[in-house]
């Protein structure tokens, strides 16, 4: 495992070098430490009985018969936890008057979505636990489900909670919207649907908890060991110092493991009750029902423009489905979108309103992009509508409105200050890579000849805000925590380095990228660095991994910690070299005497001197280790131009992505291999929203898409090969880096749908609800041609329950 990709012309330092990943060896040889692999002496297995009703009163729970089943150690209903289980936390009360109902980890009196846990069995093995669930008797009094956010606020609608179905209304406005729309030559209004998605990390959730003498260790397939520890302490009352949380190898997250889950809390409580370690591992169908879902909005967007396509104002009104409860950041997700509807465009006025609505479905929460894909979809779709209305090229109408590269830093109508960007450069590169003009020519020819296979070009000139986040901004948005990140550098006496990060990776490659950053900063070999993360006992402080924050925040924390190491080393080097500290110059790896560069001390020698501590000056601490906590000044604003060429078979409705070009500007690149991988994976998830995926509930509130046979995660055969390119406008931080984890997902969904609509626009088609399945595309074509489109067999897919 020593082979390294050597790129011709690769940089001399580590930044920008396509290092192969340090974390791969254990993953490709099966020596992984997934939570479900963990076993402990006396380990017991937990299985949960889950509600078959979307909404019902629980009238009785009887676990007696289950206790007589072979191998069963215990069985509990919600009442058994009622006194100690508290309420699952929501850290983002977005308005002062938000309705935030209690959310017991195990339902006690009432269930509000299918899959909510109502009882559990603890047994000697997982088969025995699952078997005994059948012996538990629960009786319910069914209540009316609430399934459509468009009617949930109507008077007379059944209520999810006593306080009603509205959780909050959040507004933002800047500029004179009335003036912008008054007498505007062009006003376009559209309703767009953001369907509900299931994040579907490949590793199902799993939890192991041990409790010894009141001290708890929790292993969990989580993105957020640090946040989880604090929240578990707050929810259960267990003293925080007695809780250790470990995120071992974690098999993907995409936001779905950015949560404090019922099963984690209950595992802690069960381990405490029994004094035995317990494990719970979900099945995929259990996970589809009970891992938080993503998206699920109805968007009304209205744009006012001048006759030349110049935007005057934008008015956005969202209905956002919260599901049955508010989970960790449920209400905040659409607000992240609030700041992104204006995107890269200049305008005079903007108004945004979001109403959070309860339904009897699984709660929604962060899923890759979290609020920003939704916003980007709506604005990029309506920009195409504006172009079509004015008979302009969609790239042309964007260029008339976007912030020019010489205008950065630029404060948008939504109040964000974009530090950097070059939309012209990214767009020019994307046009070139796609062969834009030739494709437009082909499109014209196919239209003229009436080819049954039409071609469309979809444009998405996106930006996003990531690198979550400046703590004071989070405070102003009523978020319950800060947005800093922590790093520690431990200089070992042998000259090797341990890097401790609070940003806990689950596939992103931190062990490699962090080694590259520290190698450059300290001038030590990449191979001599080990990165540690994901255990609150090893890495006691952190804000974890989500929101494309790891590099822009956690990477900068590394730089700050390295600064401190270098400065501490200076004092010891001065003593070693018998010169004044001010007479030393730092070059990576070494302090040397100014004017006498041969006389110096390497950082490893200084570390050894600090370890021995025999000859340190008075008052100098015998260590050069350092910690740093970095709080960013601003968000990170990656952007790019994505172009999708799609062929639409007008006879079958089948969509084929012929080529997909993604040009991303993510600032300075630490590792191009990792960056490209993040872009590819992001594209796949965004394309999947456009073409394949939707969580579907039936009229009774049962989730229909409980398996991977019903919920269509695309395979290699379903996805195109991608053409990627980069432009680079460095961010205003010392590394010049921006986030990349979510960019592909945010950009690609509107690019694909715009391509499909562009292909079909001559038929008068202006929208197709996602996912754009062959059936939906075919029906849209039939309807546009005035034919009988038949009954819409999947009506509920377009709006929750019919």
């Amino acid at each position: 495992m020593t082979a390294q990709a050597e790129v011709p012309g690769a940089p001399a330092g580590e930044l920008g070098r396509a290092r192969l990943r340090k974390e791969d060896y254990r993953l490709i040889t099966g020596q992984t430490n997934w939570t479900d692999n963990i076993t402990l002496p006396g380990l017991l297995h937990v299985a949960f009985l889950r509600s078959p009703y979307a909404h019902a009163r629980i009238t009785s729970v009887d676990v007696t018969a289950a206790l007589g089943e072979p191998g069963v150690i215990a069985a509990y209903g919600g009442a058994d936890f009622a006194a100690e289980q508290g309420s699952l936390p929501c850290a983002w009360p977005v308005t002062p008057d938000i309705v935030m109902p209690a959310h017991p980890p195990m339902a006690v009196d009432e269930v509000r979505y299918v899959g909510e846990a109502v009882a559990c069995v603890i047994a000697r093995d997982r088969y025995a636990a699952a078997d005994a669930l059948a012996a538990i008797e629960v009786t319910y009094e069914p209540l009316a489900p609430v399934l459509d956010i468009r009617t949930a606020l109507d008077e007379g609608s059944p209520k999810v909670h006593e306080a009603g179905n509205k959780s909050f209304e959040w507004v933002f406005a800047n500029g004179d919207l009335d003036a912008a729309f008054r007498d505007a030559p062009v006003v376009i209004e559209r309703d767009y649907r953001q369907q509900r998605l299931i994040p579907s990390a490949m590793e199902p959730r799993a939890v192991v908890c041990s409790c010894v003498g009141g001290e708890f260790t929790l292993w969990s397939a989580t993105q957020i060991p640090h946040v989880l520890r604090v929240m578990l302490a707050l929810v259960t009352g267990i003293p925080e110092q007695n809780l250790r949380v470990i995120a071992p190898d974690v098999g993907g997250g995409f936001g779905s493991k950015l949560q404090v889950t019922a099963e984690e809390v209950l595992a802690v409580l069960i381990a405490r009750k029994l004094g035995r370690p317990v494990k719970w591992t979900e099945s995929r169908s259990e996970g589809n029902m009970t891992v938080h879902h993503g998206r699920d909005q109805w968007q009304r967007i209205k744009i006012a423009a001048d006759a030349d396509g110049k935007i005057r104002g934008l008015d956005v009104d969202l209905l956002a489905d919260m599901g049955a409860y508010l989970m960790l950041v449920t209400p905040g997700v659409p607000l992240l979108g609030a700041f992104m509807f204006p995107a890269i465009y200049k305008m005079d006025a903007y108004a945004f309103r979001c109403t959070g609505v309860f339904t009897t479905k699984m709660p929604t929460d962060a899923y890759r992009g979290a609020g920003r894909p939704e916003a980007t979809f709506a604005i990029e779709r309506i920009m195409d509508e504006l172009a079509a209305h004015l008979d302009l090229d969609p790239l042309d109408v964007r260029e008339r409105n976007w912030i020019r590269h010489e205008e950065f830093p630029y404060t948008t109508i939504a109040g964000l200050t974009y530090d950097s960007g070059n939309y012209e450069a990214a767009t020019a590169r994307a046009r070139e890579l796609l062969g834009y003009d030739a494709l437009r020519q082909e499109q014209a020819e196919r239209r003229a000849s009436g080819d049954p296979v039409q071609v469309g070009i979809g444009v998405s000139t996106f930006t996003e805000m990531c690198g979550l986040a400046p703590s004071r901004v989070l405070g102003s948005l009523a978020y319950g925590a800060g947005g800093w990140e922590q790093a520690s550098i431990r200089m070992l006496p042998t000259g090797k380095v341990e890097v401790v990060t609070g940003s806990s990776a689950h596939g992103q490659g931190h062990e490699t990228a962090w080694s590259q950053i520290v190698a450059d900063q300290l001038g030590v070999p990449f191979e001599d660095i080990r990165v540690l993360h994901g255990d609150t006992q090893v890495s006691p402080k952190g804000m974890d991994t989500y929101g494309s924050r790891s590099l822009a925040v956690g990477g900068m924390a590394l730089v700050s910690a390295c600064d401190k190491v270098i400065e501490k080393a200076r004092a010891i080097a001065a003593s070693m070299l018998e010169v004044a500290a001010t007479d030393l110059d730092w070059t990576p790896g070494r302090w040397a005497v100014r004017g006498d560069p041969d006389k110096g001390a390497a950082i490893g020698e200084i570390a050894l001197a600090a370890f021995a501590a025999h000859n340190l000056p008075d008052g100098v601490e015998p260590t050069i280790d350092a910690d740093a906590t970095y709080d960013p000044d601003n968000f990170s604003f990656p952007h790019g131009t994505h172009l999708c060429a799609a062929e639409v078979d007008t006879e079958t409705g089948f969509v084929t992505i012929r080529s997909y070009v993604a040009v991303d500007d993510i600032g300075t690149v630490v590792n191009p291999l990792i960056v490209e991988g993040q872009v590819h994976g992001g594209l796949a998830q965004g394309i999947a929203q456009a073409l394949y995926e939707e969580a579907v509930y039936d009229d009774d509130g049962n989730l229909i898409t409980t398996t991977l046979a019903d919920y269509l995660i695309p395979s290699a055969a379903d996805l195109p090969s991608y053409v990627t390119g980069r432009t680079e406008s460095p961010a205003a931080n010392r590394l010049g880096v921006k986030g990349v984890g979510e960019a592909g997902t945010i950009a690609s969904t509107p690019a694909v749908v715009n391509a499909i609509i562009d292909a079909l626009r001559p038929l008068g088609i202006q929208d197709i609800t996602m996912p754009c399945t062959p059936e939906r595309v075919w029906r849209a074509i039939q309807a546009a041609r005035g034919g009988d489109q038949g009954s819409d067999s999947d009506a509920q897919q377009t709006g929750g329950a019919a």
């Binding site: 495992m1 082979a3 990709a5 192969l20 990943r21 974390e23 791969d24 060896y25 254990r26 993953l27 490709i28 040889t29 099966g30 020596q31 992984t32 997934w34 479900d36 692999n37 072979p70 191998g71 000697r124 093995d125 088969y127 025995a128 579907s200 990390a201 490949m202 590793e203 199902p204 974690v250 098999g251 993907g252 995409f254 591992t281 099945s283 995929r284 169908s285 689950h506 596939g507 992103q508 490659g509 490209e676 991988g677 590819h680 994976g681 594209l683 796949a684 998830q685 398996t707 991977l708 046979a709 995660i713 395979s715 290699a716 055969a717 379903d718 996805l719 090969s721 991608y722 592909g744």
Partner: protein, 163 residues
């Protein structure tokens, strides 16, 4: 594990990664649970319960199978190769190619993806990209978007991965 129904236990002999094991198992025990929890081969993970994701793919007498869709008793007398026993030495060419092409991120699908690819290359030593994509359509990855997985299989094929 799974010892509470003694009268229904069946004895099986399975060779896993070159080592012969004889165990008494419940007839309903899935091969993947046998591998993970009886033999201790946790390199084979479980991603779903409907044979859709392919994370649990192993070779059963040289053919790729989803070990969540095979009963342990069906493997009686068979040879099972998991990711832990694939390499004849340090790394199998597919393992090396996955590393070199950055064909994994979280790595959860990787063992199954590599074993499915091994079976694909056994059938078709020099597949084109379309054949690779179609050959791996029973294995889902949520991180990579598949681009680098296709490149890795192509690279391993070029290196003569079939042994």
């Amino acid at each position: 594990m799974f010892s509470n129904v003694g009268d229904r236990m069946t004895e099986i002999t399975v060779t896993v990664d070159g080592v012969k094991y004889a165990d008494h198992v419940e007839p309903r025990l899935l091969l993947v649970h046998y591998l993970r929890e009886v033999v201790g081969k946790t390199g084979t993970p479980i991603g779903c319960d409907t044979s859709n994701c392919g994370a649990c793919t192993v070779l059963l007498d040289g053919q790729s199978v989803k070990s969540c869709a095979v009963l342990a008793v069906q493997a009686d007398g068979a040879q099972v190769t998991t990711i832990e026993g694939l390499a004849d030495g340090d790394l199998h060419p597919l393992q090396r190619a996955f590393h070199e092409e950055h064909a994994l991120q979280c790595g959860y699908c990787t063992p199954g993806m590599i074993l499915a690819a091994a079976d694909l290359l056994r059938d078709n030593p020099h597949p084109d990209d379309r054949e690779i994509r179609e050959g791996l359509e029973g294995n889902l990855c949520r991180c990579t978007g598949y681009e680098n997985i296709v490149r890795a299989v192509r690279r391993a094929a070029a290196a003569g991965a079939v042994q």
